[in-house]
C-alpha cells in the first residue's frame, strides 16, 4: 500500500467510490459501502497524511494538514462519502496539476533537448567523438549535415547552411563560411564545417540563454509577491473563522468545509503559470524576457526610445551616392578606393566595400598618410590624391565651387556624410556615405504608434542633420541629437516623468550604460554580445526590430492572461466562501471547485504557449 504511484492511488480510490455508489444504488450491504469508502479515503489520503506529518515536524501547517484534519473530522462524524471524495479529488487534482504544469514548463524542456550531445574533435590528426563539455578552447571541431554545432566558434574551413532557430528564432538557414561566427545548439542543414572552438560548455551563448531563461521564469512578478502575501494571511484567517464558526454554531460540517477551502490555490498559481508560459513562448521566438516583473513593465510601456546607430540603422556605413565633377563616377571610386586601400576608418571601409564589387584589382597607393580630423593623402598612379573634408581641401588650396558647395549641403541635409576627393588642384568628385535604415524601421515605428505607444523617440550621439533626416523619414515623435551617454540617461528620466514607463532600445554594445540605467532596457541582436545579454531586461536575439513588436505583443497578452487568471481566482475564492457559509457547498463540492479552478487557471496559461504574434 505504501508503494503505490500517485496515478494508481487516484484510480483505485476512484473505483472504490464507484463500487460503493453502485451498492448504494442497488441498496445493498450498507456496512461494506462504508468500508469501501473508508478504504478509498485511506488509499488516496495516505500521501496527504504523510506530507502533513512531515511538514508538521517542522511546525509548518500546509494545505495537506488542513485536508487531513477535514477528512479525519468527516470520518469521525460518519460522513464517509465526503471523506473519500475529498481525498480522491485532492489527489486527482494534484495529479492533473502536475501534468498540466509540466506543459507550461515544456518550452524549457524543448530548449534543453536542443542542447548538443556530442562533438567530433580533431586530436593528433584523428577525429574523435567526445562530449561537448570536453572540447577545449582552440580545438577544431568537425560538423556534418544534420549535426548540431557543439561549441561557439569561428569557421576555419568549409561552408554550410546553418539553422540558427534554437538561438535566434529565425527559421531561415544562413550561409556560413570562413571567418563567420557560429553558435552552439544551431544545426547544419547542408554543407560541412570545421570550426575553431572559442567558447565551450557553460560559456556558450546557448548555455547562457538557457540559464537566463531558467532564472527568468522563477523571477517573481510584483502581482505575484502581493498575492503570496495575501495567501499568507488568508489561510490563517479562514482557519480562525472555522474555529469561531464551530464554537458558535457547533456546526462541524461547516467548520470542516472551511478548512478545505482555506488555501486559495488558484490565486497563488494564477500569476506564475502565465509568466512561465509567456517567457517560454518568448524564448522559442528569440525574445528573452528576464522575469515576471519585466513582463508586467513591458506590457505597460508608454514611450519607446531608440538608439540610432546600429538599432534604427544597420550600423555599417555604406556608399549611397557617387558624384564626379571632373571625372566619371567609376574612375572616382577606383582612385578613392586605391588611396584608402590600407585605411581602417569606417568611411574608408565603406568606400573599399563598394569598390570591391566593381573592380577586381586596385592600384597600390604610395606614401599614404592619415591627417587626423581631415582625411587621407596618398599617391595613386603617380598622382597625388586627397580624400577628406572641406578643411583638407582648404589646407591644400583646392577651391570648392559654389555648385559643389551646394551639392555638399544638400547631401548633408539628408544625413549623409559627403567625402570630397581632389587631385591636381581639382575636385574630382564627392562620395556620399550613409548608415542605412533597417528594412523594418518604418513599419516598426508605425506599428508601435498603432499599438498605442504615446511617444516614439530617438536618442543619438550623431549630429542634428543626420538625426533630423531619420526622424522625418520614420515619422518619429521626437528626437534628441548630439548626446553624450550621460545625457541619454537624464532624457530618459524626463520622458518617464512626463509620459510614464519608458523602454530604451539599443544594440547593447554602444549603449550598455543607458540600457542598464533605463526603466526597461531592450537589447537587440543579443547573440554573441555578452554585455548586452547581462545588462538588458529584454534581449532580442536577432538583430531585427520587428522582434520588439513581438516582445510587446507577447507581454501584453501575458499580462492579460495573468489578469484573467487573477479575476477568475478571486471570483472562485468569493464563490467558495459565500457558498460554504450559505451551506450550499460542502466538503467534496468545495474540493471539486477548488481543484477545478486551479486546473482551469493552468489551462488558461497554456494557451499562451501557442501564442503567435503577427510580427
Amino acid at each position: 500500500m505504501l508503494k503505490l504511484e500517485k496515478g494508481q492511488r487516484v484510480v483505485i480510490s476512484g473505483l472504490l467510490i464507484v463500487f460503493s455508489s453502485a451498492l448504494k444504488y442497488l441498496n445493498l450491504y450498507p456496512i461494506v459501502r462504508d468500508i469501501l469508502l473508508i478504504l478509498s479515503a485511506v488509499i488516496a489520503g495516505y500521501p496527504i497524511f504523510l506530507n502533513a506529518y512531515r511538514a508538521l515536524k517542522f511546525r509548518i501547517l500546509g494545505i495537506e494538514a488542513l485536508v487531513t484534519l477535514a477528512v479525519t473530522g468527516a470520518i469521525i462524524i460518519g460522513e464517509f462519502f465526503e471523506a473519500a471524495a475529498v481525498t480522491f479529488l485532492f489527489m486527482l487534482g494534484s495529479y492533473l496539476e502536475a501534468k498540466t504544469l509540466e506543459k507550461t514548463r515544456s518550452s524549457i524542456k524543448e530548449l534543453l533537448d536542443l542542447a548538443p550531445d556530442s562533438a567530433k574533435v580533431i586530436r593528433d590528426g584523428i577525429e574523435v567523438e567526445v562530449l561537448p563539455d570536453e572540447v577545449k578552447k582552440g580545438e577544431t571541431v568537425v560538423i556534418r549535415p544534420g549535426e548540431k554545432i557543439p561549441i561557439d566558434g569561428i569557421v576555419i574551413e568549409g561552408s554550410a547552411f546553418v539553422n540558427q532557430a534554437p538561438i535566434t528564432g529565425e527559421p531561415i538557414p544562413l550561409e556560413k563560411t570562413d571567418g563567420d561566427e557560429v553558435f552552439s545548439g544551431t544545426i547544419i542543414e547542408s554543407g560541412f564545417l570545421m570550426v575553431r572552438a572559442n567558447k565551450v560548455g557553460e560559456d556558450t551563448t546557448f548555455s547562457r540563454i538557457l540559464h537566463l531563461v531558467e532564472e527568468a521564469q522563477d523571477k517573481k512578478a510584483k502581482t505575484q509577491k502581493f498575492l503570496e502575501i495575501f495567501a499568507r494571511y488568508y489561510t490563517p484567517s479562514i482557519m480562525a473563522l472555522a474555529a469561531i464558526v464551530f464554537l458558535i454554531t457547533f456546526d462541524i460540517r461547516l467548520a470542516l468545509t472551511l478548512l478545505v477551502i482555506a488555501c486559495p490555490g488558484a490565486l497563488v498559481i494564477s500569476t506564475p503559470v502565465s509568466i512561465v508560459a509567456g517567457i517560454g513562448n518568448g524564448a522559442k521566438h528569440g525574445v528573452l524576457i528576464k522575469g515576471g516583473e519585466i513582463i508586467e513593465k513591458l506590457g505597460t510601456v508608454s514611450v519607446v526610445a531608440f538608439d540610432k546607430t546600429g538599432t534604427l540603422t544597420v550600423g555599417r556605413p555604406k556608399v549611397v551616392k557617387l558624384k564626379g565633377f571632373n571625372t566619371t563616377e567609376d574612375e572616382l571610386l577606383r582612385i578613392a578606393a586605391a588611396a584608402e586601400k590600407y585605411s581602417e576608418h569606417p568611411l574608408a571601409k565603406a568606400i573599399l566595400e563598394k569598390a570591391n564589387t566593381k573592380f577586381f584589382d586596385l592600384p597600390t597607393p604610395k606614401n599614404s598618410t592619415l591627417i587626423p580630423g581631415q582625411g587621407v593623402r596618398a599617391e595613386v598612379e603617380e598622382k597625388e590624391i586627397l580624400i577628406g573634408n572641406r578643411k583638407l581641401m582648404a589646407e591644400n588650396n583646392l577651391e570648392i565651387s559654389i555648385e559643389i558647395e551646394e551639392y555638399l549641403k544638400s547631401e548633408e541635409s539628408e544625413g549623409k556624410t559627403a567625402v570630397i576627393v581632389g587631385s591636381n588642384q581639382k575636385i574630382l568628385g564627392t562620395i556620399s556615405i550613409a548608415d542605412e535604415l533597417r528594412e523594418d524601421a518604418v513599419l516598426v515605428v508605425r506599428e508601435l504608434k498603432q499599438m498605442g505607444i504615446k511617444k516614439v523617440v530617438m536618442l543619438t550621439g550623431d549630429n542634428k542633420n543626420a538625426a533630423a533626416y531619420i526622424a522625418k523619414k520614420l515619422d518619429l515623435d521626437e528626437f534628441y541629437a548630439e548626446l553624450l551617454p550621460e545625457d541619454k540617461v537624464s532624457i530618459l528620466q524626463n520622458l518617464q516623468q512626463q509620459y510614464g514607463r519608458v523602454a530604451m532600445v539599443g544594440d547593447g554594445v554602444n549603449d550598455a550604460p543607458a540600457l542598464a540605467l533605463s526603466d526597461l532596457g531592450v537589447a537587440m541582436g543579443g547573440v554573441g554580445t555578452d554585455v548586452a545579454m547581462e545588462t538588458a531586461d529584454v534581449v532580442l536575439m536577432k538583430a531585427e526590430l520587428k522582434k520588439l513588436l513581438y516582445a510587446l505583443d507577447l507581454s501584453r497578452k501575458t499580462v492579460k492572461n495573468m489578469k484573467q487568471n487573477i479575476y477568475f481566482a478571486i471570483f472562485v475564492v468569493l464563490v467558495l466562501l459565500v457558498g460554504v457559509l450559505a451551506k450550499v457547498v460542502f466538503l467534496s463540492s468545495g474540493m471539486l471547485i477548488h481543484e477545478l479552478s486551479v486546473i482551469l487557471v493552468i489551462l488558461n496559461a497554456i494557451r499562451l504557449l501557442g501564442f503567435k504574434s503577427k510580427f
Partner: protein, 71 residues
C-alpha cells in the same frame, strides 16, 4: 557566506515551495532561501560555521523531496 543550489525532483505544487522555504529558514545560520519553483531548485546562502550542506539537504529530504544534485 556560502551559496549552494539544490536540484530537486520536479516540484509540482506551489505550496511545496513555501514549505521548503519555511523549513530551511528555521535552521541555524541560514541567511537566505529561495525556492525556484519552475526549475525545481532551492538556492540557499548560509554561514558555514553554523550549518552545512548536509544539514540542509537532510531537511529538504525530510519534507519528502529528493535532492538530485547540489552545486
Amino acid at each position: 557566506m556560502t551559496v549552494k543550489t539544490f536540484q530537486l525532483e520536479t516540484l509540482t505544487c506551489p505550496s511545496c515551495a513555501g514549505k521548503i522555504e519555511a523549513a530551511v529558514k528555521r535552521l541555524e545560520g541560514i541567511d537566505d532561501v529561495s525556492v525556484l519553483f519552475t526549475s525545481s531548485r532551492v538556492k540557499v546562502s548560509f554561514d558555514e560555521s553554523q550549518t552545512d550542506q548536509r544539514q540542509i539537504q537532510k531537511t529538504i529530504e525530510a519534507l519528502g523531496f529528493d535532492v538530485l544534485s547540489v552545486k
